[in-house]
């Protein structure tokens, strides 16, 4: 890992308050709790988890689209957690986001030119002539004809639309790209194209990518390291290959065993988890995974688990103090 990380997240919490009546009791939904990680320049971090586990909230909190409840986010060494809107504008040039559904995230009333030139307009860059040139370059870069500039989003296919979304995100040449389920809404064949585009762009522009998805095989393909989330917490963080070969945390084990393999002869031992994901409004005591964990012990109901290094090099992390016991 490089000595100065691009992004450093420490003990990030984000909670939503649910039900805002005058007399009703307010409930809090802990969407992200105690997430810490750091990200080196040019690295790709995959974040996987079931729906509702807080992946997207984490992504949005990193961009300060949601104000984190507590914790710090350091970008290039600077604490951006409490920057004002004005100060944040400068940082936004460097952190961009690709959204899940391009039909939703592109304003259907704007032409592609409007959409792609908007980042320049917001940050007051370039003249109109320059912007037209830049938009053409962006379109070429993401593999669309320059004539698309005059069209509206609904005139494109899903994959093309996501290319526009990516073009918008890379318009200001950011350092960090947060892809929130960027390919989940696309067909499998188109997914591959868009992922390859992202990988190409990463190489050309030295992008650092946080790739959020529920699709384990997609994440495996693109990521250097993968974080597994469960109920707002990181339960395991490991290099991609190692995570797939030897998952440590019981939850990761179950997830990996559920990936379909295109080999009818191969016998798989599938770990089927019991029960549902507990409500994040009333998370279980102790380790949040204990009600569904096949290895749970009495102590798990009491002791909260924190992400801890499994080896001396601090490459693999897991949030389970019984890991050694389980895996032997």
């Amino acid at each position: 890992m490089a000595d100065s990380p691009l992004l450093q997240v420490e003990h990030l919490y984000h909670s939503f308050s649910v039900g805002n009546g005058f007399l009703k009791k307010q409930n809090t939904l802990q969407a992200v709790s105690d997430v810490s990680f750091s990200l080196a320049q040019g690295e790709t971090l995959g974040i996987v988890g079931e729906s509702g586990c807080g992946k997207s909230t984490l992504g949005r909190a990193l961009l300060r689209l949601y104000q984190p409840t507590s914790g710090t986010i350091r970008f290039l060494g600077e604490d951006i957690t409490h920057l004002t809107k004005k100060q944040m504008k400068r940082v936004r040039r460097k952190i961009q986001m690709v959204f899940q559904d391009p039909m939703e995230s592109l304003n259907s009333r704007h032409t592609v030119y409007d959409i792609l030139s908007e980042p320049f307009a917001i940050h007051k860059l370039g003249t109109t002539a320059e912007r037209i040139k830049w938009v053409d370059e962006l379109l070429t870069r993401v593999g669309l004809p320059t004539s698309s500039a005059a069209l509206y989003p609904h005139e494109f296919s899903g994959g093309q639309r996501q290319r526009i979304g990516i073009a918008r995100a890379i318009a200001l040449q950011p350092d960090l790209l947060v892809c929130d389920e960027a390919v989940s809404a696309l067909d499998v064949s188109v997914q591959a194209q868009v992922i390859n585009l992202l990988l190409d762009l990463q190489e050309q522009m030295k992008l650092t990518i946080i790739f959020i998805s529920h699709d384990l095989s997609v994440v495996k393909h693109i990521s250097d390291r993968i974080a597994v989330m469960y109920l707002g917490r990181f339960v395991e963080l490991a290099p991609a290959e190692e995570l797939y070969h030897s998952p440590q945390h019981p939850y990761t084990k179950a997830l990996i065993s559920a990936i379909p393999v295109a080999d009818p002869k191969r016998k798989m031992k599938r770990i089927v988890l019991q029960g549902d994901v507990p409500s994040p409004m009333h998370p279980p005591s102790g380790c949040p995974f204990h009600p569904r964990c096949p290895y749970a012990a009495e102590s798990c109901k009491v002791t909260a688990q924190h992400l801890a290094a499994l080896d001396s090099d601090a490459i693999r992390f897991a949030a389970c103090d019984r890991i050694k016991l389980i895996n032997n």
């Binding site: 949005r60 961009l63 689209l65 944040m88 504008k89 936004r92 040039r93 961009q96 986001m97 959204f99 899940q100 559904d101 039909m103 939703e104 995230s105 592109l106 304003n107 259907s108 009333r109 704007h110 032409t111 030119y113 409007d114 908007e118 980042p119 917001i122 940050h123 109109t128 037209i132 938009v135 053409d136 320059t146 004539s147 500039a149 005059a150 509206y152 609904h154 005139e155 979304g165 918008r168």
Partner: protein, 353 residues
């Protein structure tokens, strides 16, 4: 790439306009009304006591848009404004090559014609060029209808514009900011909307005797509320969509998000409501004028004509012409409103996935 300077209209909008065109009665109502509004802007050339063109002593003049010319200017023995209708007859009698062209209706809406032996109202007469007769003070009804139309349409558009401006801005701010601002504003609006509008307008009008702009202002004071409800809800819905989040991630300002991103997506509703707002405003003005609490007399007004017609039922031409005019205009605007609603119906254009 020049196309991106002038992006062609959104294909969906084009589709909506085509659909509007295919709704015949709405389309033709729009055409006719548009034509009438344009005509009314040039009412001075069509309905006026001043001549359109005068040829006198080898010089052309256009009295409609020039300074007042007295009788003395044309060799007559009076110092007040020349009567062009009499001047026309005089020119014809003298036959010295001088001539002038009068508008098709040679009366202005204020002058009282007492030339007949009996007292007004006079029934319609083509010979005297009172095509719809005169009212109780001898003023030409057609002239008053035309100028009254212009004032009513002007009032309706201006009131609508100001109401929408305030209502849209305030409503979208409520929807966008939400929270405490929303709650406090909503309570304020609820209280404000409880004010009995018509009475307050009547009291204010009878106290301050307003001119046109002030009168518009008084009506806007109570007219902007309705729009805020719609805008608040629409903005609330649009705000939670991802394109707003995407704009925030780009660093867009709140102003930009509301007016550049959210507003175009609520435009359909604003456009759909506009014709109905216009109908409402015309009715409001006519009602207030009918009660004598609208624009100050002698402003030409449909409501005031209606009042005269009601009090003088035997002069059927007063009530007949003003009621026909009101019914025609309001029906046309309503047709347009219906057409727009039909053509812009989101169910026709949205695919729910």
């Amino acid at each position: 790439m020049a196309r991106s300077f002038f992006p062609q209209m959104n294909p969906v909008t084009v589709k909506k306009l085509r659909r509007f065109r295919s709704i015949k009665r709405a389309f033709y109502s729009a055409l006719i009304l548009f034509f009438l509004v344009i005509l009314s802007l040039f009412a001075e050339l069509l309905v006026n006591s001043r001549a359109v063109v005068v040829w006198y002593d080898g010089a052309l003049s256009f009295p409609t848009y020039s300074a007042v010319r007295t009788g003395a200017d044309f060799g007559l023995d009076y110092q007040y404004e020349v009567n062009y209708r009499e001047l026309q007859q005089l020119f014809q009698k003298q036959n010295q090559g001088n001539w002038l062209i009068m508008p098709p209706v040679p009366y202005n809406p204020y002058e009282q014609d007492f030339s007949a032996e009996n007292s007004p109202p006079h029934p319609p007469s083509v010979a005297k060029k009172h095509y719809l007769g005169t009212d109780v003070s001898g003023r030409d009804i057609l002239a008053r209808l035309v100028y009254g139309f212009r004032i009513a349409i002007g009032f309706a558009f201006m009131t609508m514009f100001l109401c929408f401006l305030i209502g849209v801005s305030f409503g979208s701010m409520m929807g966008y900011y939400g929270g405490r601002f929303d709650i406090i504003s909503q309570r304020f609006i609820e209280i404000w909307s409880m004010v009995p509008t018509l009475y307050v307008i009547m009291i204010m009008v009878s106290v301050i005797r307003p001119n046109f702009m002030l009168f518009v202002g008084i009506n806007v004071l109570f007219g902007w509320i309705g729009m805020t409800w719609y805008m608040r809800t629409m903005t609330y819905r649009e705000k939670s969509r991802e394109y707003v989040l995407a704009a925030q991630a780009q660093g867009a300002s709140t102003f930009r998000i509301i007016f550049h991103h959210i507003l175009p997506n609520t435009m359909v509703m604003i456009v759909t409501l506009a014709p109905f707002a216009i109908v409402g405003n015309i009715t409001q003005l006519t009602a207030l004028d009918f009660l004598g609490l609208g624009l100050m007399p002698p402003t030409p007004s449909w409501g005031e004509l209606l009042q005269q017609g009601k009090s003088n039922m035997e002069a059927y031409w007063i009530l007949g012409s003003v009621v026909s005019a009101i019914v025609l205009v309001l029906t046309m605007v309503t047709f347009i409103g219906e057409g727009i609603r039909e053509a812009f119906d989101p169910r026709q254009h949205t695919r729910y996935i």
